[in-house]
């Protein structure tokens, strides 16, 4: 069938397939060799035990080094805990987030922090905040009647 293709169509398909391969090589290289993967991770936690299980029994910000923090966060109907975070410029933040109730999201506009929070799972993502500013932490997965007020603030000074 392929040998009946007009020559131009063969060139077009080769160019198209070639571009797709280039895309995949770029994405794969970023993932494997630069370590840039979307959030995720495989740790689990029973949703009804979130409040009683370390580290989520004490959500908050822990300083790990001069410019390095861990944010242990619970996303619940309809708030983030902690809901306000202040860190210095250039900080690297390790987020670990879970939900005791429904599916939420943790999304910080104008950054690459875009995390789904699924009950039963712990989502992890590491991001370095290079620029000062008032960032919003938004729930970006429909979670109920208060979904559009579910937010927190992150200040980088």
């Amino acid at each position: 069938m392929i040998d009946h293709l007009p020559r131009y169509e063969r060139i077009w398909l080769l160019l198209g397939i070639g571009s797709i391969i280039v895309f995949l090589v770029v994405l794969g290289t970023l993932g494997i060799f630069v370590g840039l993967n979307p959030p995720g991770h495989m740790r689990t936690i029973a949703p009804e035990e979130v409040a009683a299980t370390a580290p989520f029994d004490e959500p908050g910000v822990t300083q790990l080094g001069p410019n390095e923090f861990r944010v242990t966060m619970v996303a619940r109907l309809f708030a983030f805990d902690p809901g306000e975070i202040t860190i210095p410029r250039g900080s690297t933040v390790h987020f670990e987030v879970t939900s005791p109730d429904v599916v939420h999201g943790l999304f910080i506009p104008n950054t690459n922090v875009n995390i789904m929070v699924v009950p039963g799972h712990i989502s992890e993502y590491t991001y370095t905040f290079e620029d000062e500013g008032n960032y919003a932490m938004l729930c970006h997965e429909y979670c109920g009647v208060g979904h559009h007020v579910m937010m927190g603030k992150l200040v980088v000074q």
Partner: protein
């Protein structure tokens, strides 16, 4: 009207039984698009700050109506009606009576399911959006209604398979007509992918919402949904492709570019639109990077049949244009029948598929999804794909099919109205989708009621785009009303045709090549699809089943 004479009957292309069946499906889809449009207008104006809703109507309730009616009900009923028309037309002139009985059973199941689900949404017992989102727990009747819709659509598929099998038996060794082949391919895709959502609804959501089981595996339910959710978008797109491949060549006065390639593209769509659901779950925990990336690779392969389609369409236009004396590199564009609403609407849909497809490649690009996932960019994306490319083609199908179906003419007036309708639709979508893409990059989340996030400074950058999106909603609502006016006019009021009106089915450009018989060996393609699906899903799904904790239901709306 009461004495429809033999002479009158001769004006209809379709058998009366088929006519009734097709019109029942398409007519019901009009109810859905009308309800979906009202909900769409109200929620569009609410989320952009133009209006406030009365306390008795919830934003997310309206959003559920809009999603269910437009994405599931309008599309499914319209598609099935259209497929029946082409199958009846190309496989001997009418559907076999057994197939027709199955088709009607499917129809009533789907109608009953739609009514049940609609009641639950209207009583605010099912504001879980059309994507279900467990552990949000709706009333069991909502899930039962959706299950009936799926089962009904299976019967529709069986009706098409039966008509096809009968034709194959009577025409041994012949390649099947292109339309029928593509209709079968579309329904094969549908049967395979709906198994996922059926398992989710029947084994998880229904028993759980009835209280027979306390908890369900949320990540498993999401995985089953998106196993269905991505091929679902191809179930919308393939009928549009059928119109482009089979009907449009006739309308532009050309021929079908090839009899084999369109079949190959449809086979590729079956193979590669199914094992790719993880690209909707790239930001989720519980699925490892390896399996996510594997499905990203498979997703990219599904771009290829669309690249082939782009070439085929252009080639059809160019060959038809040159036949009519077009010269120069792009002279053939001037020979296209832009004044014919049947073509103009479909052509607008094709053009919009260029940015829509480009956006789709970005969405599936693993890390790049972090920029756009669950922002308004995605909403903008599928308003270009399904609500523009697919919907505009469905409008074109209506204009092309109705004269043959209702025995009434497209008058110059109605044709002009169809052109204006397309212009309004394209403008409405431009106002809506372009700002959605931009404001999505600035971080406005999708599926969100009007909010200022406590006057957070980031929201101020969104404001101007919200206004444009609201204007787009208004234009599109006018567009739906205009479409319904045109369709109902062509159904009930336009002047009757003097002679038999043809449903434009293209002829194949004769290259002397017959489609290879392997393309018609469905067992091979279904088996390959299942193998690919098992490769892409077995290990991660087993991991989810064995490790993901379960959740109790929550009603948070």
């Amino acid at each position: 009207m009461q004495k429809e004479t033999k002479r009158d009957k001769a004006k209809f292309l379709f058998d009366p039984g088929d006519r009734k069946l097709i019109l029942a499906h398409i007519g019901f889809s009009f109810f859905a698009i009308f309800a979906g449009a009202i909900a769409g207008l109200l929620q569009g104006l609410q989320r952009t700050g133009f209006i406030e809703l009365p306390a008795s109507i919830g934003y997310y309730q309206l959003l559920t109506v809009h999603g269910v009616m437009m994405a599931l009900i309008f599309t499914t009923f319209f598609i099935i009606g259209y497929l029946y028309s082409g199958v009846a037309r190309t496989l001997g002139g009418s559907l076999p009576s057994g197939a027709r009985t199955t088709a009607w059973t499917g129809y009533y199941l789907m109608v009953a399911g739609t009514v049940l689900a609609t009641i639950e949404i209207l009583t605010n017992d099912a504001s879980v959006l059309y994507t279900f989102y467990a552990p949000l727990q709706a009333d069991p009747l909502f899930y039962i209604g959706m299950a009936l819709v799926v089962v009904g659509s299976w019967l529709s598929g069986f009706a098409i398979f039966a008509a096809y099998a009968k034709w194959r038996r009577a025409n041994k060794g012949q390649p099947s007509p292109l339309f029928a082949y593509m209709a079968v391919a579309t329904m094969v895709l549908w049967q395979i992918c709906t198994i996922g959502v059926a398992i989710e609804v029947v084994f998880q959501l229904i028993p759980w919402s009835l209280g027979w089981i306390d908890k369900i595996n949320v990540e498993l339910s999401r995985t089953l949904f998106w196993y269905f959710g991505h091929p679902l978008v191809y179930f919308w797109l393939l009928p549009a492709y059928i119109f482009w491949y089979v009907n449009v060549p006739k309308i532009v006065g050309g021929k079908i570019f090839s009899d084999s390639l369109p079949r190959l593209t449809f086979v590729l769509f079956i193979l590669y639109s199914i094992p790719v659901g993880f690209h909707h779950q790239l930001m989720e925990p519980g699925i490892s990077s390896f399996w996510k990336f594997l499905q990203v690779v498979l997703t990219m392969i599904v771009v290829i049949p669309s690249l082939m389609t782009a070439f085929s369409m252009m080639a059809t236009f160019e060959l038809a244009g040159r036949e009519k004396g077009a010269t120069g590199l792009f002279g053939f564009f001037r020979k296209l029948p832009f004044r014919d609403a049947r073509f103009f609407a479909a052509f607008a849909g094709m053009v919009i598929f260029i940015p829509a497809g480009a956006g789709g490649v970005i969405n599936a690009s693993y890390q790049l999804d972090q920029v756009v996932h669950n922002t308004l960019w995605i909403t903008g994306h599928f308003h270009l794909t399904v609500a523009s490319t697919v919907a505009l083609t469905f409008f074109a199908i209506t204009y092309s099919l109705f004269p043959a179906l209702t025995g009434r003419r497209i008058t110059p007036f109605i044709n002009k109205l169809g052109i204006w309708h397309t212009i309004i639709w394209v403008l409405g979508m431009a106002f809506m989708s372009i700002p959605m893409h931009i404001v999505g990059l600035f971080g406005e989340p999708r599926r969100t009621a009007y909010t200022t996030y406590m006057d957070h400074p980031v929201v101020q950058t969104w404001e101007p785009y919200r206004k444009l999106i609201g204007i787009g909603s208004g234009l599109l609502f006018i567009g739906v009303l205009l479409f319904l006016f045109i369709a109902l006019y062509m159904w009930f009021a336009a002047p009757r045709t003097e002679q038999l009106d043809e449903f434009p089915i293209g002829e194949v450009h004769d290259t002397g090549h017959r489609p290879p018989p392997i393309l018609e060996r469905w067992g091979v393609w279904i088996a390959l699809t299942l193998i690919l699906t098992l490769i892409a899903y077995t290990v991660p799904v087993m991991h989810i089943i064995n490790h993901a904790p379960e959740s109790a239901g929550v009603r948070s709306w």
